[in-house]
C-alpha cells in the first residue's frame, strides 16, 4: 500500500515537472510566471523527495512486497546496507540519479532570485530533462513493481562485494557529479533560447560547475579506491570502459571550468564554453546510456535490455540535437572577443582545451572502437592500457609544460618573455636535480617515467615558488588554482613513482616457512577455516618484518558465500606513508603450499590524495567569497 503512495508521488512529481517545463518554455516569463515556475518546480521536487524517502523507509523496514527491494536486500543486512542496496542495481540507482538531478535543480531554484533573467528557462530545461528520465524510470525500469500476493520472507542475498562502505557512497557521489552539470547545461541552453548575447550566463554557473566537478572528482577517486582494496584488483586505474566513461565528462568538465574563467574574465572563448557545457552534460548522459543499455560489458554494467538502451538513446539524441540546433542557430549572435593575444593566459587555456579535446576523443575512440570493429568485421577486440598510455603520457606531459609556462602569463596580455627569470630557472633547476637523483637512486632509465616525473616536479616547484613569493612579498595569488595545480603535479609524480617502483610477485609458501621478497621477511604463521554467519572463510596469518626491523601482521582471506557460492578475496593491506604492502591469498597446491600474491605499491595513497586535493581546492573556491 505504502509503495503505491511512493509510486503515485513520483508520477505526480513528473506531472508537476511537466507543468513547470511547459510554463517555462511556452509562455512569456513575466515575474508572475517565474514565481509560478519556481514554486511548481519546488513542489515537484518535494514530492519526488518524499517518494524517495518512503522508498528508503520501505527498504529499511524490509518491505519485500516490493520486487526490487526483495531482490536486492535482505533482513540480515545492517540498516546502512539496506539503504545502499537501493542503488546496487539498475532501477534503484536510476531513481537515485533522478532524485539527485532534481536536487541540483532545487538548490539552484532556491538560491537564485526569480528575477534573474535566465532562471525560469533554466528551471524549465531541467524540468524537461527530469520528465524524460522519470518517464524512462516509470515506463521501462519501474522500481515500484510489487510481488503479490506472497512476498518472500527474507529477501535475496545481497552480493557480498557490494557490502562495502566505499561502494555504498561511491555511486551517489559519482551521480552527484554527473548530474550536477545539468545546471551549466540548462543555463547555457536558456542563454541560447533567450538569445541575448549580453547576458553573463557564465558567471551564474561558475560555482555550480565547480561543485559538480568536485563531486565527480571525488566519485572517481572513491571508485578507484574501492577497486583497489575490495575487488582485489591491486591497482588504481584499469581503463575499464566504465572508468573511461566517467573520465570523459571529467576531462570535458575540467576543460569547461577553465574556459569558463576565460569567458568571465575577458569574453574570449564564449562559443567554445557553450559547446563544452553541452558536451559535459552529453558525456554524462552518454555514460548513463552506456552503463544502462548493456552495450559494453564491464564490472559495473547493468543487465542487458535493448529497450532501455533505445529509449535512453532516443531521449539523449533529442537533448543533444536540440542543443546543437539551438547552438548553430544562435552562433552568429554570440558576441565574443576575437583575436586572443599570443602568450596570454587565454592562449594557454585555449591550447589546454585542445589537449583535453584530444584526450576525450581518444578515450571515446577506445571505448567505442571495439563496438564498431565487432559490428563491421565480426571480430572481437579490446583496447587495453597500452593504447591509453601511448596517448595520455605524451599529452599530459606536454600539457604540463604549457601549464608550467602559463604560471607567468597574464590575462589579455603577452607574457613577459624572459626565460631565465628566477622562478622558471629555479624550478627547472631543482626538477632536473630531482630527476637525476631519482634516475641514479633507483637505477632507472625509463624515459617516459622520468619525463613524467620531471613534468610533475616543475609544476610543484614552480607553484612552491609562487606560494613563497606571495607569503614573503605579499604578491597576489589565486590559492585555489595553486592548490589544484600542485595537486596535478603531485598526481603526476605519484603515478610515475607508482609505475616505476611497484612490484608484485606470486610466491608459494608452506605453513611455518619463511620467504623473502624485496627485503621483506615473510613468515607464514597460521591458516584456519572460519565459519561465519553467511560464509566460510580461509584466513591466513603472516608475520612480516621489513628491512628496518619493523614487524607487522597481514591476514589475507578468502570467503565463500553460501547462497550464491560466490568466492571473494579479502585483501590484507599494510599501509605505510610511502608504500602499501598488499597481499592476497590464492589456492593451495598439491604439496600443501599456498600461493600468495604480494604487491608493493608505492605512493598509491598519494594518487588518491592528489585527486582529493584537487576536489578540495574546488570546494574551497565554492565557499570562498571570490566572485570570479
Amino acid at each position: 500500500m505504502i509503495i503505491e503512495i511512493s509510486h503515485f508521488l513520483s508520477v505526480l512529481a513528473t506531472g508537476l515537472f511537466f507543468l513547470a517545463g511547459s510554463f517555462s518554455l511556452f509562455t512569456k516569463n513575466t515575474l508572475y510566471i517565474s514565481n509560478l515556475i519556481s514554486r511548481t518546480y519546488s513542489h515537484g521536487f518535494l514530492l519526488l523527495l518524499t517518494s524517495f524517502s518512503i522508498y528508503i523507509w520501505l527498504a529499511i523496514s524490509d518491505n519485500f512486497s516490493v520486487q526490487y527491494i526483495a531482490s536486492h536486500s535482505n533482513t540480515e543486512l545492517p540498516t546502512f546496507y539496506k539503504i545502499s542496496s537501493i542503488w546496487s542495481a539498475h532501477e534503484g540507482s536510476m531513481f537515485l540519479w533522478i532524485v539527485f538531478l532534481s536536487l541540483w535543480g532545487f538548490f539552484f531554484n532556491i538560491s537564485v532570485k526569480n528575477d534573474q533573467i535566465l532562471k525560469s528557462k533554466s528551471i524549465g530545461v531541467i524540468s524537461v530533462i527530469l520528465v524524460g528520465f522519470l518517464l524512462f524510470l516509470l515506463v521501462t525500469s519501474n522500481p515500484f513493481i510489487t510481488i503479490l500476493p506472497i512476498a518472500p520472507l527474507n529477501g535475496a542475498d545481497i552480493n557480498p562485494v557490494l557490502q562495502d562502505p566505499a561502494l555504498a557512497i561511491h555511486p551517489p557521489t559519482l551521480y552527484l557529479g554527473y548530474v550536477g552539470f545539468v545546471i551549466p547545461f540548462a543555463c547555457a541552453i536558456s542563454f541560447l533560447l533567450i538569445g541575448d548575447s549580453n547576458i553573463k550566463w557564465e558567471l551564474l554557473v561558475r560555482k555550480w560547475s565547480i561543485a559538480a566537478w568536485a563531486f565527480l572528482t571525488i566519485g572517481i577517486t572513491l571508485g578507484s579506491w574501492w577497486a583497489y582494496y575490495e575487488l582485489g584488483w591491486g591497482g588504481y586505474w584499469f581503463w575499464d570502459p566504465v572508468e573511461n566513461i566517467a573520465l570523459m565528462p571529467w576531462l570535458a568538465a575540467t576543460a569547461f571550468i577553465h574556459s569558463l574563467s576565460v569567458s568571465i574574465k575577458s569574453s574570449h572563448l564564449r562559443i567554445w564554453t557553450i559547446l563544452l557545457s553541452i558536451s559535459v552534460f552529453s558525456l554524462s548522459l552518454f555514460g548513463a546510456f552506456i552503463v544502462r543499455s548493456g552495450i559494453i560489458d564491464s564490472v559495473h554494467s547493468f543487465a542487458n535490455d535493448p529497450d532501455r538502451g533505445l529509449y535512453l538513446l532516443g531521449f539523449i539524441s533529442i537533448i543533444v540535437f536540440t542543443s546543437i540546433y539551438l547552438f548553430i542557430f544562435r552562433l552568429p549572435t554570440i558576441k565574443e572577443s576575437k583575436r586572443i593575444k599570443k602568450f596570454s593566459k587565454e592562449s594557454f587555456i585555449s591550447i589546454n582545451n585542445i589537449f583535453f579535446g584530444t584526450l576525450i576523443f581518444s578515450v571515446m575512440l577506445g571505448v567505442t572502437y571495439p563496438l564498431i570493429y565487432e559490428f563491421l568485421f565480426d571480430q572481437k577486440i579490446s583496447v587495453g592500457a597500452p593504447f591509453y598510455n601511448a596517448i595520455f603520457i605524451p599529452i599530459v606531459v606536454l600539457a604540463s609544460f604549457f601549464l608550467f609556462f602559463s604560471v607567468d602569463s597574464k590575462w589579455s596580455r603577452k607574457i613577459n618573455f624572459k626565460f631565465f627569470k628566477t622562478p622558471i630557472f629555479l624550478s627547472l633547476f631543482f626538477s632536473i636535480i630531482t630527476v637525476i637523483y631519482i634516475s641514479d637512486r633507483f637505477n632507472s632509465n625509463n624515459l617516459a617515467i622520468l619525463i613524467s616525473i620531471f613534468a610533475g616536479t616543475i609544476i610543484i616547484f614552480r607553484y612552491i615558488y609562487e606560494l613563497l613569493d606571495s607569503l614573503l612579498n605579499k604578491k597576489y595569488i589565486n590559492p585555489f588554482s595553486v592548490i589544484a595545480h600542485m595537486a596535478l603535479g603531485l598526481l603526476l609524480v605519484s603515478i610515475s613513482f607508482n609505475s616505476l617502483l611497484s612490484t608484485e610477485r606470486a610466491i608459494n609458501i608452506k605453513i611455518n616457512e619463511y620467504e623473502e621478497y624485496k627485503g621483506l621477511n615473510i613468515y607464514f604463521d597460521d591458516i584456519r577455516v572460519l565459519k561465519n554467519s553467511n560464509n566460510d572463510s580461509i584466513k591466513a596469518t603472516f608475520f612480516i618484518e621489513d628491512a628496518k626491523g619493523k614487524q607487522f601482521n597481514l591476514s589475507p582471506e578468502k570467503r565463500r558465500y553460501f547462497t550464491r557460492g560466490q568466492i571473494t578475496t579479502e585483501t590484507a593491506i599494510h599501509i605505510m606513508p610511502l608504500k602499501d604492502i598488499y597481499m592476497t591469498i590464492g589456492d593451495q597446491l598439491d604439496d600443501g603450499s599456498w600461493i600468495v600474491n604480494i604487491q608493493i605499491n608505492y605512493l598509491i595513497r598519494f594518487i588518491w590524495f592528489s585527486a582529493a586535493l584537487m576536489a578540495f581546492a574546488g570546494i574551497m573556491l565554492i565557499f570562498s567569497n571570490r566572485r570570479a
Binding site: 582485489g232 581518444s362 572502437y369 583496447v383 601511448a390 596517448i391
Partner: protein, 136 residues
C-alpha cells in the same frame, strides 16, 4: 586573392593539417595496441605473430588444471578445439574448471603464455557463460 582571405585559408589548412595528423597518430597507436579476441577454434588456422598480444576466451576444460609451484596450466576449450594456457600468478576468484575464462597473453607454438587471466563479471558479479561463437 586578398591577404586576409589568404591568411584565413592558411589557418584553415593549418588546423586541418594538425587535426588530420593528430587523428592519424591516435588511430595508429590504437591499431598497434589492439588485443584481438579469439576462441580456440579461431586460433587453429591463424598465424599470429609471437609478439602480438591476444585474448583467448572459452571454458576451462574439466580436469585440465595443473599446478606446479606458482605456475598454473590449463586447457581452454570451446568444445570443438582447445588450447593450452600457461600462467604464473594467482588466478581470479571466479576461475573454475568448467567455467568461462578469458586470458590475455602471447601465442607461441600453440601454447598461450598468459599475462592475465580474467573471469568476466556482470551486474551480479558472476562470470557469464561465454557466448561462444559457432563458426559453422
Amino acid at each position: 586573392m586578398n591577404p586576409i582571405r589568404k591568411r584565413r585559408i592558411y589557418s584553415i589548412l593549418l588546423v586541418l593539417l594538425f587535426s588530420v595528423s593528430g587523428i592519424s597518430l591516435i588511430l595508429y597507436s590504437l591499431n598497434s595496441n589492439l588485443d584481438y579476441f579469439f576462441t580456440p577454434t579461431e586460433l587453429k588456422d591463424k598465424n599470429i605473430p609471437i609478439d602480438k598480444r591476444i585474448k583467448v576466451g572459452g571454458m576451462v576444460l574439466n580436469g585440465s588444471v595443473k599446478r606446479a609451484s606458482s605456475k598454473i596450466s590449463f586447457i581452454v576449450t570451446d568444445y570443438e578445439n582447445s588450447i593450452t594456457v600457461e600462467y604464473e600468478g594467482i588466478v581470479p576468484d571466479l576461475f573454475k574448471e568448467g567455467s568461462g575464462v578469458v586470458v590475455l597473453g602471447f601465442l607461441d607454438n600453440q601454447i598461450v603464455y598468459a599475462e592475465e587471466v580474467l573471469a568476466k563479471h556482470d551486474e551480479n558479479y558472476m562470470p557469464p557463460n561465454l557466448d561462444i561463437k559457432n563458426d559453422n
